[in-house]
Amino acid sequence: MQLFRSFVKKEFYHIFRDVRTLLILFGLPIALILIFGYVVTSEIKNAKIAILDHSKDKITTEITNKILSSGYFILSENLKSAKQIEEVFRQGEVREVIIFEPEFSKNLSKTGQANVQIITDASDANTANLILNYTRAIIQDYSMSLNKIPAQSIKIIPQTRMLYNEELKGVYMFVPGTMALILLLVSAMMTSISIAREKEMGTMEVMLVSPLKPLQIILGKVTPYFVLSFINAVTILLLGVFVFGMPVKGSLILLLGESMLFILLSLSLGILISTVSPNQQVAMFISMMALMLPTILLSGFIFPIENMPPLLQWISHIMPARWFITVLKNVMLKGTGLLFVWKESLIMIGMTVIFISMSVRKFKVRLE
């Protein structure tokens, strides 16, 4: 035990001596939370549009003003001819061109009909759709205000309630997502690299011939990272709660317990990676290349899993982050207890056990 304690101490010294790495370890979650909180937003704001107004009369001006005062759009330029449309799209800034036909007001009052054409740059299909919908809604609104609405005959009134997140805040998605991403990447990367480093430098052999048992060596390597990751988890939670108003409806103890479980899971994944990697470079590429994008994309962090093709939905089951994100959302937002997350917890425990037993087997093979 004495031996073990001094070994853990040595690992802590290693970490605290490297101030730059330490700064990054603690700076990363803060930076990411702030980026997701303030920068990454799928809302449309200040989308640049161009207008080709063949009429320039009272109504087209009014519609234009309505669109531009909505806050969604900024006028990039007024076009003079249809030829310019292709050009402005190719320059990349303009996302939508609105075209008013000639004699717009005249047509409207004479025939009761007037035409507006909207062309969107659909290379970004998602944004194009949103922009189009906003524009149509504004024009429709204006169109309605031109007419006295005929007495409504039948009306079904849907009353919508947004459960768990009445203001549709994005923070409810990104706090759990960031937490899972950071804990997984940092824990897996740190352990796998530091163990691979010992192997590469030959110091692993020295430790293996010491009276320390292999299990103690691994535990000793992992303990400091467990502590660091837990501090990270708490940092993210505090930022989420106090800066972005994320609620914690369920039990705080359960939340912290599940976080520890997920950290353990990530650490054991890191150990497994280190046992299959001959050197730091490989360990790093596996833990970074193989974990980063799949975790961002397949865990339901940014893109909802239900929308994915069945094969990918199935693959998402093996992403550890997916289960942790579900647990976080359940406990923090829905306030559910262990009763609702026991399945996810069991899966995470199972994954941890599998990773550890695979590492142990690999480790033994190496020793023999």
Binding site: V39, I118, A125, F303
Partner: protein, 372 residues
Amino acid sequence: MNTILHILHKEFIQIFRNKTMLPIIFMLPIVQLLVLVYAATFEMKNINMVVVDQDLSSKSRALVAKFEASPFFKIQQNTFSVKEAESIIKSDKADFILNIPSGFELGVLKENTGNIQLLINAINGTTAGLTNVYATSVIADFNRELIIESINILPPAIQQVINVEYSFWYNARMNYKIYMLPGILVILVTLIGMFLTSLNLVREKEMGTIEQINVSPIKKYQFIIGKLFPFLCIALFELAFGLIIGKLVFNIPLVGSLPLLFLFAAVYLLVALGIGLLVSTLSSTQQQVMFVSFFVMLVFIMMSGIFTPTESMPDWAQKVNIINPVAYFMEVIRMILLKGSGFMDIWKSFVLLFIYAVGIISLAIWKYRKVA
């Protein structure tokens, strides 16, 4: 020149001899590209819903049938208690409850108003908003049918109508994949290039071989170029490979000029790899290098506009993006590939990145000390 060739020769031998790294460099990104492009979609299909029909009338059934017929919704379960429905949402089996209270049909027939309730799981604000939009439009449709059915005539003609016609350019079928593929490709290519470069130099430091090079008369710039070029080649090769996959598997349009794209990509990669080199000249262990580059990359990627439009970002973030090379390339690769933008359309980004590349590589050369 000869000296540089000797370094290149050596680097390429080392890269191709490393049997564990080769599949990681070449296979991993391609597999990820193939799989992940399918994942990146906001298209909503199969919103799982629970129906609580407490009215059990012909009208309520007709409304439920409307939802059933919509491509957006999938009825998971029917129940009679809102409580039970809410617990289904809690357990994540559905995201949307349609609650039709008893007396719905009566209300429609007698008072011309029927009240229903939509309960949406709004943890993901974006999808909740969309769910609401789709549900409302199904209900509006149903409403219109009811009007036609009951009065049996069209509603009185509205005097003035503004017709909105719309068209989607460059992507008429609204295929989100052709937008995401270049984005994911940029990230994969950058990660591979930048990390290989930065780890390579610091590895020579850790192994001690750098000392032997430092006592030789080799010039700093020769050494740095020799270290950049191989990884530039690998990254460009992967870009080409990724585009071929994109064309064959996802049928992404390659509208613009490919030489222009590769020219731009080369300049961009010089910046990205230059950052990698700079980081490694300032670090002494692989661990340090990788944490610093990881941090820089993650921030750059998240701010690059891969998932969300950059113009929606706050002003300060857009200013930060001036030094974010990923944001430049993310925009330009999509412009060239999908819209066919030419040099005149992207020259500003090109010039800025070029200056950036020269600056960052000079800095790396300057910071790389042959003198301890």
